[in-house]
C-alpha cells in the first residue's frame, strides 16, 4: 500500500516534465508534486459559510477509497495478501464511491462552478463506468475470473496468443482511463478556464490539506489505471506471491519500467492531440463502450474457431 502512495506523485511529476520537454520548456522538477502536497498540507483550510460536513469529510473518503483501490491492484506481484478482498468490479465500484463523494462536495457550496463540474463528471462517469465494466467482462470471459491476480496469471499463459478482443479491450480501457483521469482530450488538468473544467471545477472551493488529499487521490487514480493496463495487458515480469525477495525486487524494477513507458506514451499523446468539445465526449466514451461490447462479441467468434 505504501508503494503506490510513494510512487503516485512521481508518475504525475514525470508526465508533466515530459510534456514540458515536448513543448521545449524546462518544466517543473520531478519531485514537484511531493512538494506541492507538503505545502498544501501545511496550509490552513478556508471553508465557505455554506459548506457542510460533507465538504469536510469528502476529501478523506475520496483519498481513502482511491488509496485502497490502488493498493488492491497487483503492481509488482500477484496474489498478495488482500487481493481476494476485491475483484475488478469492486475496484471500479470503489472508484465510483470516490466520484460520488467528490460530486457531492462539488454541489455542497452552492455555486454554479461546482454544479458544472459535478454534472459533467456524472455524465462522463455514466458512460465511462459501463465501458470499463464491458472491458472487465471481456477480460473475465477470457481468463475465467474477475480477480486481477487470476487474470494476470492466465494472460501470461501460452493459451492466449494475440487476440483481437484483447486489442479492442486495450484500446477501450485506454479511452476510459483518459476520461476518468481527466486527461486531454476529455478534460485539461492544467486549465485555468473554468468553463473548460470538469474535475477542477468540482474541487474549485477546496484549499489546504483537503486539496492536498484530493490531489493525492487523483495522482493515485492515474497510477491505478496505469497499473491495471500494465498488469493485465503486459503481465510479463510480475512475481507471484511467495517467490521470495529477489523475485519481488525484479518485479518492482519491471513495474517501474512499465510506469515510465506509459508515462512517456501518455505525455506524447496529450501533447499531440487537442481537447474535445464537451458534447463530443459522450461520442468518445460511447465508442469505448462499443469497443468493449465488440470485444466481448468477437470473443465468441474466435472462441468458436
Amino acid at each position: 500500500m505504501l508503494l503506490v502512495l510513494a510512487l503516485a506523485p512521481l508518475l504525475t511529476g514525470y508526465v508533466r516534465k515530459l510534456k514540458a520537454h515536448l513543448l521545449r520548456r524546462q518544466g517543473p522538477p520531478l519531485a514537484q508534486p511531493y512538494r506541492d502536497l507538503l505545502r498544501l498540507l501545511r496550509k490552513e483550510v478556508v471553508l465557505a459559510h455554506s459548506a457542510s460536513w460533507v465538504f469536510r469529510v469528502a476529501p478523506y473518503l475520496v483519498f481513502a477509497t482511491t488509496w485502497v483501490a490502488a493498493a488492491l491492484v497487483p503492481t509488482f506481484a500477484t496474489g498478495l495478501i488482500f487481493s481476494y478482498a476485491a475483484d475488478m468490479i469492486a475496484i471500479v465500484a470503489l472508484l465510483g464511491s470516490a466520484r460520488f463523494m467528490l460530486a457531492l462536495a462539488g454541489l455542497d457550496v452552492g455555486t454554479s462552478f461546482g454544479g458544472i463540474g459535478s454534472s459533467r463528471e456524472m455524465m462522463i462517469a455514466s458512460l465511462a463506468e459501463p465501458a470499463m465494466l464491458m472491458v472487465v467482462f471481456t477480460l473475465s470471459l477470457l481468463a475465467g475470473s474477475t480477480q486481477l491476480s487470476s487474470i494476470a496469471a492466465s494472460l501470461q499463459g501460452p493459451d492466449v496468443g494475440l487476440r483481437v478482443s484483447l486489442a479492442l479491450a486495450l484500446i477501450g480501457l485506454i479511452m476510459v482511463a483518459i476520461a476518468e483521469n481527466a486527461r486531454i482530450p476529455v478534460d485539461n488538468p492544467a486549465t485555468h478556464l473554468e468553463l473548460t473544467m470538469v474535475h477542477e471545477a468540482m474541487i474549485l472551493e477546496y484549499s489546504g490539506r483537503h486539496l492536498a488529499l484530493i490531489e493525492a487521490a487523483s495522482y493515485l487514480k492515474l497510477l491505478l489505471y496505469v497499473s491495471v493496463i500494465a498488469c493485465v495487458f503486459f503481465p510479463w515480469g510480475l512475481a507471484v506471491a511467495g517467490q521470495g525477495l529477489a523475485a519481488y525486487l525484479a518485479g518492482l524494477a519491471v513495474y517501474v519500467a512499465k510506469l515510465a513507458a506509459s508515462g512517456f506514451l501518455l505525455a506524447i499523446f496529450e501533447t499531440a492531440i487537442a481537447k474535445m468539445r464537451v458534447f463530443r465526449v459522450p461520442d468518445f466514451l460511447g465508442a469505448a463502450l462499443m469497443l468493449g461490447l465488440l470485444a466481448t462479441l468477437l470473443l465468441f467468434v474466435t472462441r468458436a474457431g
Binding site: 463530443r280 461520442d283 465508442a287 462499443m290 462479441l297 468477437l298 467468434v301 474457431g305
Partner: protein, 220 residues
C-alpha cells in the same frame, strides 16, 4: 497453420472492423478521408499476410493494388475534390453518432450469428474472415445510409469493396483478372461520381442530399 499466424490474420481482420467503426465515428471530412486511407492500408496488410501464410504470390499484387490505388490515389483525389468543392467541415449524421455505432454493433452481432453456423464445415480462417467481412460490408452500407453527404456515401461504397476483398482472400483468393477488373470498375465509378459531384455543386451550391430532396419537390 499455427496459432500465431492465425491470430495475426484475425488481428488484421478485426482491425478492419475497428477501422470501419472509426469511419462511422468521424465527424469531419478530412478525418473521414484519412480514416479511409488507413482502412485501405489495413486491407492491404491483411491481404499481404494472407499471401504470406497461404503461399499465394498473386495476392501480393492484390495487396499492392489496394495500397497504391486506395491508400494514396483515391484519398489524394478526394482531398482535392473536397478543397475545390469547398465542403470542409462537419458531416451531418441522420441520427446521432452514438446510435449509429449501436446499430453497427447490432450488425456485427448479426453477421456473426449468420455466418458462423452456416460455414460450420469450412476451415477456421475462412469462417472468421467471412464473418468479419460481412460485418465490414454491412457497416459500409450503414455508413452510406446514415450520412447526408455525398462524399461520405462514396467512401462507404468503397469500404464495401474492401470488405469484399477480405472475403475473397479468406476464401483462397480471387483470380487476378477478376481482381483487376473490379478495381478498375471502382476507379471508373469514382471518376464518374466525382464528375457528377461537380455538376451538382455547380447547379445547386450544395452536395447535401437532404437538400436535394427539396429541389425534387419531395420536401417542402
Amino acid at each position: 497453420m499455427d496459432r500465431l499466424s492465425l491470430d495475426i490474420a484475425h488481428l488484421f481482420a478485426g482491425g478492419l472492423v475497428l477501422v470501419s467503426f472509426m469511419l462511422l465515428y468521424q465527424d469531419r471530412m478530412s478525418g473521414l478521408v484519412n480514416t479511409f486511407a488507413s482502412h485501405a492500408v489495413v486491407v492491404s496488410l491483411s491481404v499481404a499476410w494472407q499471401a504470406y501464410i497461404q503461399q499465394a504470390p498473386h495476392l501480393y499484387i492484390t495487396s499492392a493494388i489496394a495500397l497504391v490505388v486506395k491508400a494514396f490515389v483515391i484519398p489524394v483525389a478526394l482531398h482535392r475534390i473536397i478543397v475545390r468543392l469547398g465542403i470542409h467541415g462537419t458531416i451531418e449524421p441522420v441520427v446521432g453518432i452514438g446510435q449509429t455505432m449501436l446499430a453497427g454493433i447490432g450488425l456485427v452481432a448479426l453477421s456473426i450469428l449468420v455466418m458462423l453456423p452456416i460455414t460450420a464445415q469450412a476451415g477456421t480462417l475462412a469462417r472468421e474472415d467471412l464473418a468479419f467481412s460481412l460485418s465490414v460490408i454491412l457497416l459500409g452500407l450503414l455508413m452510406m445510409v446514415s450520412r447526408r453527404n455525398a462524399v461520405s456515401q462514396v467512401i462507404g461504397f468503397m469500404s464495401i469493396e474492401n470488405g469484399l476483398i477480405l472475403a475473397a482472400t479468406g476464401a483462397k483468393g480471387m483470380p487476378l483478372v477478376v481482381e483487376i477488373s473490379v478495381a478498375f470498375s471502382i476507379l471508373v465509378a469514382l471518376i464518374v461520381i466525382g464528375i457528377f459531384l461537380f455538376r451538382i455543386r455547380e447547379r445547386f451550391d450544395t452536395v447535401d442530399v437532404h437538400d436535394l430532396d427539396r429541389y425534387r419537390g419531395e420536401r417542402p
